[in-house]
Symmetry: C2
Subunit: 199 residues, 2 copies
DNA sequence: ACCTGAACACCGTTCAAGT
DNA sequence: ACCTGAACACCGTTCAAGT
């Protein structure tokens, strides 16, 4: 009996504490440093305990990715809302800067989010989270199409180039091959907008 | 004394055999399945033997990445050379298709090539290989600029959007989030070319 | 329902010793 | 110079057993 609070046998919120610690490891030491045993050790629980909440390591990674998509969605939504002007170009610029910021500030998380092969099983709820994150960008494109600001056609198809370009910029930046500045992002968006002009 | 050839104590070309086996594992089971011990086992050498040729696992991955960049460079060079017409658009299309083909056919290798953080140390020769791979695309852009086909300016900066877009398409395809067809690539290139038009 | 402890089959890395 | 064998400190996963 010490002054410390006694750890109950039933931890109570092990799942969320695992995710919390995992995110800290991800941010500070990268995806490669994630170890279920270490997480359990730090939380003060047996190495087999996480098994109750995540079937395996991949399940934990999927949960982290899902959470990441949710947070990305919030960032993108507010970026569109807070853009300096309601026209397409300024909004896409705001979106792009927000996306690049998120990607570079959460490099390891992004790696997990876009890890090769969204598994067919877990893909269910993870894919849904991914789609939700990109609702704001899609709505922006659809709106600009309705206003005749950009080329018509399937919004997903039309916005694919822009989406891919941002994804690529983020990735190249994170792998240390280029340095992404707000200026470079603005220039890239300018060309993307030109490419999407009607006619 | 059997009919088998006797394994000499000094293997002779352990380094290249390690790389060869590693690439097979990469292609068939992904980067996560790569194990130095397993490679050594399959080659028939002790688990400590690879240490002589690769300081650690990362050194092997770096060597694989460097080789990957070399092969990508070959593919891109011949794509430009074999394009249907010498103008910018058809050549960029050929380049894009070749890039996407390489990326999707060697998904795990691409993952290794663009793994987060090109380490400061090994980056030396790896970064050089990366730059060599993109010489052909850069030359294409510079040539098109000289011919007045696309906007002037630093070729690296000008081609960044296109490069990033292709990288993004490849990555999204590899992570199973989109399906990349030749048609989609052609459409993306079309918009990129429009965005690069002078004026 | 949730967690523990021991066990299994792996890892990467190091290092004295062999040829 | 190049490789081996044993050792160290880890992993993820499984499963009977505890509370």
């Amino acid at each position: 009996v010490t002054t410390e609070t006694v750890r109950p046998y039933h931890h109570g919120n092990l799942r969320s504490e695992l995710l919390e610690h995992a995110e800290r490891v991800l941010a500070s030491r990268g995806a490669g440093a994630l170890s279920l045993r270490e997480l359990a050790r730090e939380i003060g629980v047996s190495h087999a305990a996480p098994r109750r909440h995540f079937a395996d390591k991949q399940a934990l990674l999927d949960a982290l990715a899902e959470d990441g998509f949710d947070r990305l969605g919030v960032a993108l939504r507010s970026a569109v809302a807070e853009a300096p002007a309601p026209a397409f170009a300024p909004r896409l610029t705001a979106l792009a800067k927000s996306y690049i910021r998120f990607a570079t500030e959460h490099a390891a998380l992004l790696e997990v989010m876009f890890a090769v092969k969204h598994r067919p099983g877990a893909g269910e709820s993870l894919a849904a989270a991914g789609e939700r994150a990109f609702e704001a960008p899609l709505a922006l494109v659809a709106g600009a199409q309705a206003a005749g600001e950009i080329v018509p056609g399937d919004p997903e198809r039309v916005s694919m180039v822009a989406w891919a370009a941002l994804q690529g910029l983020a990735m190249l930046a994170n792998s240390g091959m280029i340095e992404v500045t707000d200026e470079l992002v603005a220039g890239a968006v300018e060309r993307l907008v030109l490419g999407l002009r009607p006619r």
